[in-house]
């Protein structure tokens, strides 16, 4: 991974700073880290623009300012994060962002990892691809809305669908534990679906 300040040398220093009371992570090369940590330049306000700048540089390859601006406006349909927000905070909003912003993220992933294909461990329970994950988040949100508008029938239906997707993905695992919405006040839904004991 390259330094966020000079975007040139490898980042070997990983600094967690408090910016406006929130922790923010910086990845710097030795030289930039020394400058950053020396009392002469303790201005933490440079941190976020640096991160945004770094991402912008990666994205700007072959992109005009207009294109970049348009890119920034793209909003994930599931979690509603805009690409600009991601660039500012360096954190994605939901698993679907990896699908929705895949083209934009690829150069960044290459820069960080030199690779874009996972070859490590695979979970035994995994939804078959990101579409189902997306569905789960959306359905969960819809279910919550249904609960809050006291439409327990719809909530219950959605809960069954969520459970169906989860048990599909369990690949022979025991009966899927419930999705447990956690809404203590959604008593009707809870009552219809008592918690199956784990073995």
């Amino acid at each position: 991974m390259k330094c966020q300040k000079c975007d040139h040398r490898q980042a070997t220093f990983h600094i967690t700073d408090l910016v406006d009371g929130k922790p923010s992570e910086l990845h710097l090369c030795e030289e930039c880290a020394q400058n950053y940590l020396s009392p002469a330049s303790e201005d933490a306000s440079e941190v976020m623009p640096a991160m945004a700048g770094l991402l912008a540089q990666h994205l700007a390859v072959g992109e005009t300012a207009d294109q970049l601006a348009r890119l920034d406006q793209r909003v994930c349909p599931v979690c509603a994060i805009s690409f600009l927000e991601f660039r500012k905070q360096g954190r994605l909003g939901c698993p679907h962002d990896y699908v929705y912003f895949s083209e934009e993220l690829e150069p960044l992933l290459l820069n960080i990892h030199d690779q874009v294909h996972h070859i490590g461990k695979v979970p035994t329970r995994c939804p078959e691809g990101a579409d189902q994950q997306t569905q789960l988040i959306l359905m969960r949100r819809d279910m919550k809305e249904a609960v809050s508008s006291e439409n327990y029938e719809l909530a219950s239906e959605l809960r069954d669908q969520i459970r169906a997707i989860e048990s599909q993905s369990s690949l022979g695992a025991d009966e899927s534990p419930d999705a447990e919405s956690g809404d203590a006040d959604s008593g009707d839904v809870e009552a219809q679906h008592p918690d199956p004991e784990s073995p």
């Binding site: 960080i112 996972h118 490590g120 956690g182």
Partner: protein, 362 residues
């Protein structure tokens, strides 16, 4: 069991046992995981976080009751803690600073022997880590892999066939694995070779962090070496990459120590003795100075220059003189000035009063 029960102990990772424990403090592996059916933390609502905490907390509670391999953990709602207790857990490396400082529902399940901890609602929904004393990555990976399997039996992780485990920050995507080994490298610092070492590490994509990971200010000459890449290699490969380089670093540090003994024995002995002298007599002392001096003393004990102390005792002092530990030990909240006085008093008591007889270090 609760946090107060941890106060008088010093934790697994500072135990001072395990292979190469004169130089290798601890081996740590952490995994980042997210539930498939919730947004990442930055886009969750307060009630999402409460639900995630309830689901994952419930799963961990279930593992505590498991018949075959019960996990002996105790569960702490981090949001409910006093500031000093949150700081205590950070100093102990059981939670991250980010986890301590963030908002909303969040928790940590702590292994009663402090060999692992499971953070809920950190940067990712789930961040768990296994810590072993000394150089012991292989069994740390086995342990965390088991733990991952146990939790995963009951929840659906966010995962893509192409990118692996999906994490809030793209720097963790893939394996979600961070392997780190904490080393005590005072002789490389004294001989000014540490920068050369860093440069060669960065060439092979390994990162160097300080004791609490917050930058280059390596308190007490402690350095954590860890993988930067998490995607495109298997967990074993990533772990091996770190464990392969550690013996080389150990060798460098030993050579540097031998060099110091050979070339400037008196200077070195003087440095160590003065450090020990200050720690035993100071009336007020900062945390930074304590770490700095304890580092010299630790090396002195390993080189046989100080005979009356043992490594586990020094390791304990490193952690017990941290601000929150000190306050928990003294039983009262203290301002900085009072902490410095209390720290000096604590060090005098520990280093003068209970000399453990003759215990020249192995």
């Amino acid at each position: 069991m609760n946090i107060d029960d941890l106060v008088s102990t010093s934790g697994e990772w500072m135990k001072g046992s395990g292979p190469e424990s004169d130089i290798v403090i601890s081996s740590r592996i952490r995994l980042a995981r997210n539930l498939a059916d919730f947004p990442f933390i930055s886009r969750t609502t307060e009630s999402d976080r409460a639900e995630i905490e309830k689901i994952l907390g419930g799963r961990i509670a279930a593992l505590r009751e498991a018949k075959n391999t019960p996990l002996e953990t105790f569960y702490v709602n981090v949001g409910d803690l006093e500031e000093v207790d949150r700081q205590f857990l950070v100093e102990r490396q059981l939670i991250s600073r980010e986890h301590a400082d963030s908002d909303g529902a969040r928790a940590v399940a702590i292994d009663c022997a402090e060999r692992f901890s499971v953070m809920i609602n950190e940067e990712d929904h789930l961040r768990f880590q296994v810590m072993h004393s000394g150089l012991d990555l292989e069994s740390a990976w086995q342990k965390i892999n088991e733990l991952d399997n146990l939790i995963e039996e009951q929840v659906t992780y966010a995962f893509s066939n192409k990118l692996g485990y999906l994490t809030a920050c793209p720097t963790n995507v893939g394996t979600g694995l961070r392997v780190s080994v904490m080393l005590h490298l005072p002789a490389l610092v004294i001989t000014r070779q540490i920068e050369k070492v860093f440069k060669s590490l960065q060439k092979i994509n390994l990162a160097v962090r300080g004791l609490y990971g917050e930058g280059s200010q390596a308190m007490g000459d402690f350095y954590q070496i860890s993988n930067q890449i998490t995607l495109g290699m298997t967990e074993e490969e990533l772990s091996k990459k770190v464990s392969d380089v550690v013996p080389v670093l150990i060798d460098y540090e030993r050579q540097a120590r031998e060099f110091l003994v050979r070339e400037s024995q008196e200077t070195l002995h003087d440095r160590v003795s003065r450090a020990f002298g200050i720690l035993r007599t100071a009336q007020t002392i900062s945390s930074e100075e304590t770490m700095h001096l304890l580092s010299s003393v630790r090396m002195g004990v390993n080189l046989g220059l100080i005979g009356e102390l043992e490594i586990p005792t020094i390791n304990k002092l490193f952690i017990h003189t941290q601000p929150a530990h000190l306050q928990k030990l003294s039983g009262s909240e203290l301002e900085k000035f009072d902490r410095n006085v209390e720290r000096a008093s604590y060090l005098r008591r520990q280093l003068n009063a209970d000399k453990p007889g003759d215990s020249s270090q192995n």
